[in-house]
């Protein structure tokens, strides 16, 4: 019934037709039944929704709380004493599938290695969090922030001054737990 039939209506081209209809014709009585039974039910259902509470979160005024492991804007962490954690090892850049991280190393007066330039291109970044996972020093994290729209492409290249936190952030318990899990391996 439902097979394609090839009917050549002229020598130049071939017409493909399906023998059966996809939807059977409801006929006059079927249509009448729809009109009398199905449509009023639909109307009542829709009317009930008029009195339901709206599910809209009015965004710029109210914000949806983010999940603790939400991957938002990156930040570079410091030690408790204020020195930078990042040693500019480049593992994050190596892990980055989007090739979004660029860095140049330098040494401070104590001979410790740290990043002179550390840039993340936020337009290239896909917020996968691989940098966070790759980092041996637990220096880079993906935070909760997601509103960082800008009006020029250059403004999306975030340097150290934007990424580095000024004070070490209090770590969430979940993050501490996660760190323990990771240390174990």
């Amino acid at each position: 019934m439902n097979e394609l039939k090839i009917k050549s209506s002229s020598d130049d081209y071939v017409v493909l037709t399906r023998e059966s209809k996809a939807v059977p014709d409801p006929g006059v009585w079927g249509m009448l039944r729809t009109t009398v039974v199905a449509i009023p039910i639909g109307f009542i259902t829709v009317f009930k929704h008029l009195f339901r509470k709206s599910v809209t979160i009015e965004y710029p005024f109210k914000k949806r709380p983010m999940f603790p492991r939400f991957r938002g804007l990156h930040y570079l962490e410091r030690y408790e004493d204020g020195t930078e954690r990042c040693v500019c090892c480049g593992l994050c850049a190596a892990a980055c599938p989007a090739d979004a991280i660029y860095m140049e190393p330098m040494e401070n007066d104590k001979g410790e290695r740290l990043a002179k330039v550390y840039e993340i291109n936020m337009i290239r970044c896909i917020f996968c969090g691989f940098c966070e996972e790759a980092c041996p020093e637990e220096a880079i994290f993906l935070g909760q922030e997601y509103e960082f729209a800008a009006d020029s492409r250059d403004a999306f290249i975030y340097g150290k001054e934007k990424l580095l936190v000024t004070h070490p952030r209090p770590e969430t318990t979940l993050k501490q737990m996660w760190r323990k899990v990771r240390r174990a391996f």
Binding site: M31, F47, H49, S54, V55
Partner: protein, 336 residues
């Protein structure tokens, strides 16, 4: 002197009606967006002014200042004419609609109706069918396939519905023995005097056809966003598009007003003890109920398929309207 006063009073009426209808259209767009939002458990536009009441102004300003893009293949001045042709008939409907009882204006008694034609109903039919030409012209002159499809659909739809549309009112006219809307209102005494009780089938058919006539969902085949981008007004932008839009809403209000007048007693209060409420409020609230039903329809029903529409029009509405007319005529003859 007579002429001068007549002209002045008529001009005042025209201005008042046009302003009222345009304001009504503007707020109907807002109401539609808010109510559809409620049906879908959203909020709708609520930021411009209190409860979003200034949204129509914002929309109007936006429309006027948008760039008026004109496709290179648009067909001469038909392209410019089309929105006006859709818009004007919608406004013309209000010529024959009675809004209230006789009032005294500058010492002259005058009815709250622009022109009490004795062929009001006929005029209404003549005028509403005109707006389809605007849609056809728009579809044809845009030089776009989508628009052309939209225009063709609109014309086919019009042909399938116009017959049932006209026949649906014949029942009422047979009972009323008049074509004047003013007299139709006068005949409907109280709640049980409304013609909707005598002609329920006629009313149903009229309303369905009216929805089709105004190209509203579920009969919005001519614009069918999901299939034809925006149908006949795909290529229109700026205020030209706005004119189509206002035309559609004005036609909705106009049809609602006609349905109110013919089937629901127009401006008259349904019960005697409610007569202290001014007629214009009665009229407005009855029309508002119709507008709500329009919006409810839009939120509920999916769009008809092209062939379903034809089937529905020719195989259901037309025979039913015919049956309604015959039965009414028979009963009328028998009772006489």
């Amino acid at each position: 002197m007579e002429y001068l006063e007549f002209t002045i009073i008529a001009l005042i009426k025209v201005v008042v009606i046009v302003i009222a209808v345009l304001t009504g259209c503007a707020y109907l767009t807002l109401a539609e967006r808010r109510i559809v939002a409620l049906f879908q458990q959203r909020v709708g536009p609520n930021l411009a002014g209190p409860f979003g009441l200034l949204q129509p102004m914002a929309d109007a300003v936006k429309m006027i200042f948008k760039e008026d893009i004109r496709p290179a293949q648009a067909e001469g001045w038909f392209y410019n004419l089309a929105p006006v042709i859709t818009f004007l008939p919608a406004l013309l409907i209000f010529t024959v609609i009675p809004f209230g009882d006789t009032i005294t204006l500058f010492g002259y008694e005058t009815d709250m109706i622009l022109s009490d034609m004795n062929i009001g109903v006929l005029f209404f039919f003549a005028v509403t069918s005109l707006s389809i030409y605007g849609i056809l012209l728009a579809g044809w002159s845009s030089g776009s396939k989508y628009s052309l499809m939209g225009g063709l659909r609109a014309s086919a739809q019009m042909i399938s519905y116009e017959v049932a549309y006209g026949l649906s009112l014949v029942g009422v006219l047979l009972l009323a023995q008049t074509l004047s809307l003013q007299e139709l209102v006068a005949q409907q005494d109280g709640f049980w005097g409304m013609y909707v009780w005598k002609q329920p089938l006629g009313f149903m058919i009229f309303f369905i056809c009216a929805v089709a006539e105004t190209n509203r969902s579920p009969f919005d085949l001519a614009e069918a966003e999901s299939e034809l981008v925006a149908g006949f007004h795909t290529e229109y932008s700026s205020m030209r598009f706005g004119t189509f839009f206002i035309g559609e809403y004005a036609a909705m209000i106009g049809v609602g007003a006609i349905a109110t007048t013919i089937f629901f007693g127009g401006w008259r209060a349904p019960f005697e003890f409610l007569e202290f409420i001014p007629p214009i409020l009665w009229f407005a609230s009855k029309v508002a109920v119709f507008m709500f039903i329009y919006i409810w329809l839009r939120a509920t029903l999916p769009r008809f398929r092209y062939d379903q529409l034809m089937n529905f029009g020719w195989k259901m509405l037309f025979p039913l309207a015919l049956l309604n007319t015959m039965v009414t005529a028979g009963v009328r003859l028998w009772l006489k």
